[in-house]
């Protein structure tokens, strides 16, 4: 164990913020992604085109550029627009909100694709059979389609979570005191950059390991009652 010179607790604090940001963004991405997937599958044509444009753009632009665009660009855009209309305002976004907002926006686009593919993987006969048995449309979705869909969606959503956790490191660029930022602070004041960045890497690896274990458990649970067990 390397000597952390009392900066260990700073790293743990950072880890907590990293986890908080990641979980908050993941919840946002799961909900927004499901809504976007529903829109892509069922909405009217103009709305569908709009959602298509959103996922296309978000998946083609680096996370860092989107983050900087939202954190620096959005306030100046609003200020300039309002300034043009004669209102003088100064605006700044809280780094926490900007980080969670950006990650939610990006990973909802990825989650949307996962949900859509999963929904299409459930055979239409399942829905027809449920409706023929007299279940209402909502119950059919909740009791018949959603559980089967989740089995197909879980590996993809797990993948989104893993990528999202690593993407939280970018928020250190806008000074949010998460794991990378705190490791940077510790590295600068102790002059031991390798030690602290390596410790940060190990902590990220711990999150990855726990996530892999959790994902395995979830997938076993979601595929209960199926013969092949794994996809």
């Amino acid at each position: 164990m390397p000597d952390l010179q009392g900066y260990g607790s700073l790293l743990i604090d950072g880890l907590m913020i990293t986890l908080g940001v990641a979980i908050a963004s993941m919840i946002g991405a799961l909900i927004l992604g499901l809504a976007a997937a529903a829109g892509k599958l069922f909405a009217s044509r103009p709305l569908r085109i709009l959602i298509e444009a959103y996922t296309t753009i978000v998946r083609g632009v680096p996370e860092l550029v989107l983050l900087l665009l939202i954190y620096y660009g959005l306030p100046t855009l609003v200020q300039d627009t309002l300034g043009g209309m004669g209102h003088d305002v100064t605006l700044a976004i809280n780094p926490f909100a900007a980080g969670i907002g950006t990650l939610t926006l990006i990973y909802a686009a990825f989650a949307c694709e996962v949900y859509r593919a999963a929904y299409l993987a459930v055979p239409p006969g399942q829905r027809e059979a449920a409706l023929a048995l007299g279940l209402s449309s909502l119950i059919t979705f909740r009791k018949v389609e959603l559980p089967q869909m989740m089995r197909y969606a879980l590996p993809g959503l797990g993948n989104v979570w893993m990528v999202l956790v690593k993407a939280t490191a970018l928020i250190s660029i806008i000074q949010l005191p998460e794991l990378m930022r705190n490791a940077d602070i510790a590295a600068r004041s102790t002059q031991q950059p390798f030690t602290f960045f390596f410790m940060a890497c190990l902590l990220y690896l711990c999150i990855t390991l726990v996530s892999m274990w959790g994902q395995g458990r979830l997938e076993t649970w979601a595929s209960r009652g199926t013969t092949e067990g794994t996809l």
């Binding site: 083609g60 680096p62 550029v65 665009l69 490191a169 660029i173 990378m180 390798f194 960045f197 990220y204």
Partner: protein, 241 residues
């Protein structure tokens, strides 16, 4: 907005050239790492398997930003040792560190794609090659690899797309790629949304231009199969790895 584009586009294009260079070199060097690593992970030698698994696990399990900091700033901690072997001038150079990290990172991801693709080669074809008496290396070159490349190509396309976007992180260690130029111009002229907006558009052009070309290559690779058949489902998975 238009005057902004006219004034600053040349600098942005210089940045784009750097982005393309970084992505190209790191992907090519990454492939040179990926092939032996994938083979090592599939080998029966425990030592080779353990080493390659550790490498892949580390680089896939940690953020690229942490890896860049670890190598660029972290190397400073071993300055005397690196000085002694004459490598310090390399690790002091942000361009070298960026390329070094990017290629190790993409090498790990690509090796996983290749490993999956080799696994997906139908067993019967390998058995057929074996019963024809082809030696292991010939088998790999003539039977397994051509098949694995076709299977892995759509996933590898996604990896390159991800790599193009990942190069934006090198702006943090002072390299003037597209993002670096946007940050510098945005901060100097207080034109953040114009600068990052233009950067986003340039990345979109690079990414979707590459995807367009990759699709054409994919069609060529699969000419002997029914067109527009197999690759679609792989594409429906989206750009995520």
């Amino acid at each position: 907005m238009l005057s902004f584009v006219v004034e600053h586009l040349p600098r942005f294009l210089q940045g784009a050239l750097l982005t393309v260079q970084l992505a190209t070199y790191s992907c090519l060097l990454g492939l040179c790492i990926a092939v032996p690593v994938a083979l090592a992970r599939l080998s029966t030698n425990r030592m080779l398997r353990g080493l390659s698994t550790g490498y892949v696990f580390f680089f896939r399990g940690t953020p690229l930003l942490a890896q860049i900091f670890l190598i660029y700033y972290g190397s400073g901690q071993f300055r005397h040792a690196l000085d002694a072997v004459g490598l310090w001038s390399l690790f002091r150079d942000p361009w070298f560190c960026a390329l070094f990290t990017l290629k190790l990172n993409t090498g790990a991801y690509s090796s996983e794609i290749l490993r999956g693709a080799i696994h997906a080669v139908p067993k019967g074809e390998i058995e057929a090659a074996r019963s024809l008496g082809l030696k292991p290396l010939i088998r790999l070159r003539l039977i397994i690899m051509p098949r694995a490349i076709r299977i892995g190509w759509p996933a590898y396309t996604n990896e390159v797309v991800y790599q193009i976007q990942a190069t934006s992180l090198v702006s943090i260690i002072t390299i003037m790629d597209i993002t670096g130029v946007a940050r510098a111009i945005g901060a100097r002229h207080f034109t953040f949304y114009e600068a990052f907006g233009l950067a986003a558009i340039l990345y979109l052009i690079l990414v979707y231009g590459f995807i367009f070309m990759a699709r054409r290559v994919e069609r060529r690779l699969n000419l002997h199969l029914q067109p527009s058949n197999a690759p679609r489902s792989a594409r429906a998975q989206g750009l995520i790895r």
